[in-house]
């Protein structure tokens, strides 16, 4: 379980996150939704430690991320997998080496164990016979799948996905969504997904957090969303559907 308490963040005097609190349940897919520029990405960066919040707490199963020392923070980060908006694959490494990278850096696996794990992860995301290709030679959807394979290589407890559908066609988007949900259920991962793709949210979201202008305006599940009574949320959904 990931628990956010009163997260605040400003950049050059402009408040981007205003007292955001939320709970992300273990083994569930929680969607953080909201308009572009509303603070979703900054919130995710605060959760994984890429941006330090001005105040507030982020707890991973009772471990306060910002209260940990360098070594313990490093250990906790090894339990985190992240799928970036653009994939963030290493250009100079092949698909196989990209997936193997965290294993080579952080585990003591021998070569055959490592290759078994790499092939397993690539197969899990339905990618085969692409091991020797480079990120520049594969499509956007394949990059996302390689990104997922790399994120799950270390058996993470927490998975963060920043706009996993951006720039993808509806069919590929659905494949990526289904993959994330399957992996979450299969391994009992706590998954947080930033998205403004309402279709994905209604199809896949166990739990939804709505962020509006840096504030958490609403939190609940998809059956409650229509009766939320929050005007901004209703407007956001209406705008996304038409």
């Amino acid at each position: 379980m990931i628990e956010l308490s009163s997260i605040c963040k400003s950049f050059n005097g402009r408040e981007v996150l205003k007292d955001v609190s939320a709970v992300f349940a273990k083994g569930k897919c929680t969607f953080v939704i909201g308009a572009s520029g509303g603070g979703k990405s900054v919130l995710m960066k605060c959760m994984v430690g890429l941006v330090t919040p001005d105040s507030g707490k982020v707890d991973f199963d009772g471990r306060s991320f910002y209260g940990l020392d360098y070594q313990n923070k490093k250990m906790l980060r090894q339990e985190i997998g992240m799928l970036f908006q653009g994939g963030a694959l290493f250009d100079s490494l092949s698909v196989e080496d990209n997936v193997a990278f965290p294993l080579r850096m952080l585990s003591n696996m021998n070569k055959s164990e490592l290759m078994d794990r790499v092939n397993f992860c690539l197969k899990r995301v339905n990618l085969e016979n692409v091991n020797q290709l480079y990120p520049s030679n594969i499509s956007g959807g394949m990059k996302k799948r390689v990104g997922i394979a790399r994120a799950i290589a270390m058996n993470p407890k927490y998975l963060f996905c920043d706009e996993p559908n951006s720039g993808l066609d509806p069919l590929t988007s659905r494949v990526i969504d289904e993959l994330i949900v399957e992996i979450t259920e299969e391994y009992g991962i706590t998954t947080v997904i930033n998205s403004h793709d309402i279709k994905s949210v209604f199809d896949m979201g166990d739990h939804i957090v709505f962020i509006y202008q840096g504030k958490r305006l609403w939190e609940g599940n998809k059956s409650e969303i229509q009766d939320s009574g929050v005007f901004e949320l209703q407007e956001f959904i209406k705008a996304s559907r038409f």
């Binding site: 963030a88 990278f101 952080l106």
Partner: protein, 246 residues
């Protein structure tokens, strides 16, 4: 104030860089790869520049000595000391700031804007150390090695110039080269090369590492890396010369 803030951020970056690498095997692989890339790929340009600097220096000094009462053997000595003390370490460093510095800044800057650095951090890897430390240490090895080659080649360039210009014979030039050699000048030159290589690699890595935005910002970071490295090289050239030779 902005300068102090930047200096502080640069020092913090250095502190992050000089942490123990996460995996020594991966570090050594990256280090040797960088040494090869920096040394091998830069040797050609260093050789051409050094030969011509030596050749031009002989003509410049030779033309001033001609007709004077000073014996022409002094030409070889002047050219040798000028090359060892100043031309080789400083000009090679400035050329390397342009070649290696811009390469380092744009490589790390591109990694930063495409979130590859963030991906490293998320994995629990010390990104500053992983991307910059092999480059910094490789530069500290490769650039002084290039400076040593440059010292030799610039004197060879001088000899070639003597041969073609007939200002002095090659024998007299070589006689001058062997006159009153002071080994400390080489130490001084290599000290400057060491400092220059450290400055080039760290300033360029830092500029790449703090890049935010897109392609335009990567270009700016690359330009800033070269400009700042050149200024730092010249500044430390003066300081070290003052401290070691005066």
């Amino acid at each position: 104030m902005k300068f102090l803030s930047r200096l502080g951020s640069y020092l913090l970056f250095l502190a992050a860089c000089f942490r123990k690498p996460d995996k020594w095997r991966m570090f050594w692989r990256a280090f040797f790869n960088e040494v090869y890339k920096m040394g091998n790929d830069s040797f050609g340009i260093v050789a051409i520049i050094s030969l011509f600097i030596g050749a031009v220096t002989v003509i410049q000094f030779g033309s001033q000595l001609q007709g004077s009462l000073v014996p022409m053997t002094i030409l070889g000595r002047i050219v040798r000391d000028a090359n060892i003390l100043e031309f080789s370490p400083t000009i090679v460093a400035l050329v390397m700031a342009g070649k290696i510095g811009s390469n380092i800044a744009s490589e790390i800057g591109t990694m930063k804007v495409s979130e590859q650095i963030d991906a490293l951090e998320i994995m629990g890897i010390n990104a500053a150390s992983y991307v910059a430390l092999p480059k910094i240490l490789a530069a500290i090895f490769a650039i002084p090695a290039l400076v040593i080659c440059s010292m030799f080649l610039s004197n060879v360039g001088g000899a070639i110039s003597c041969f073609f210009s007939e200002m002095v014979t090659v024998d007299i030039y070589i006689q001058g080269l062997r006159m009153d050699f002071n080994g400390f000048f080489v130490t001084h030159s290599l000290t400057k090369a060491f400092f220059s290589s450290f400055l080039i690699a760290t300033i360029s890595s830092y500029n790449g590492y703090i890049t935010e935005g897109g392609a335009l910002e990567v270009g700016s970071a690359s330009t800033m890396a070269v400009v700042q490295s050149c200024i730092a090289i010249i500044f430390f050239d003066y300081i070290l010369t003052q401290l070691m030779l005066y």
